[in-house]
Amino acid sequence: MTVRVGVVVFPGSNCDTDTLWGLERAGAEPVALWHEEADLRAVAAVVLPGGFAYGDYLRAGVIARFSPVMRAVSAFAAGGGLVLGICNGFQVLAEAGLVPGALLRNRSLRFVCREVTLAPGRLTTPFTSEIPAGRLLRMPVAHGEGCYYADGATLDALESSGRAWLHYAATDGTIAADPDDPANPNGSLRGIAGAMNAAGTVAGLMPHPERAAEAILGSEDGLLILRSLVRSAAERAAAGNPPAATTRHPAVTAR
């Protein structure tokens, strides 16, 4: 059975179509979820795509956080549902407090758009299970505010638990932990490119897996992440865990 995965469309999202297509290539039945709707259409997982939701006004991701669909996504996440935030989607998750940390303006002050090398951490998460051991990933980043920040204790906890699930790395796999390392595109603390919640069910990353989902784009490495998500969502749906998000959840206050 093909598993249904939702892609949220905010005003200003611009990677939603690519993400729908990437999920289809990864074996899912992708459906778009409009930001004004609190109904998640019985999806088994939710992806927040890249772009500039609500124009990135005030702070990237903050206005999206208060949208009807995000109340539903927060409730879905609280029930153990799988949620992946890509780029602006990661910023939305961080603003909503669904993943730890914040994304600051790039240390260089420049919008950075280029391919990066990523070193995956634990390969037993719902977002990394399809990645072969020892494999580095190549995919693009494209953002102005991707400098990962969290306080020291949070960083330690993320690293020791493997919830810092992707790191920027040199092509030989050396993690670019120094914010000024040339392989670290935005000055992220400890070279963190992706962070996950404590339950390991909500994850964000700044790079774009959907822009590396077909050979003609130069890399298919992003498919490994999308396939991990789709497979994990299918396994959970088959096990009836969590129940598909068919019902509207009662009022849930974010953060």
């Binding site: 005030l58 702070r59 903050v62 208060f66 603003e95 940390g101 914040a102 600051l104 303006r105 790039n106 240390r107 260089s108 002050l109 400098c147 920040y149 969290a150 306080d151 000055g187 953060r255």
Partner: protein, 99 residues
């Protein structure tokens, strides 16, 4: 009965949001580095934030301030990386004044 509440007044506030101490502020750093182009020396600690001004209708100033406090904490700033200060601009004025 619905019109019998206390007369509302409007209060104009400013919320000043700045990066917390210790948080990298690349904008502030860039501004600071540009000062040498103006041949200005002896200026340090430049931090760039944002200022949001808003008018609140409420029965009194503490009630209005409580609303601004909530907006500042939940929406206008991210407590992880930013701090804020609230300023009352001018005095209260009646809401219902016509042109």
């Amino acid at each position: 009965m619905s019109t019998a509440g206390p007369a509302a007044a409007s209060f104009r506030f400013a919320v000043n949001v700045t990066p917390k101490e210790g948080i990298l502020d690349p904008q502030g750093r860039a501004v600071e580095q540009s000062l040498s182009h103006l041949r200005v020396t002896g200026v340090a600690g430049v931090r760039v934030g944002r200022r949001v001004e808003l008018t609140v209708e409420a029965p009194d100033e503490p009630a209005a301030r409580a609303i601004v406090e909530r907006l500042a904490a939940e929406l206008l700033s991210n407590p992880l990386i930013e701090q804020y200060g609230i300023e009352l601009l001018g005095g209260a004025s009646s809401v219902a004044t016509g042109p």
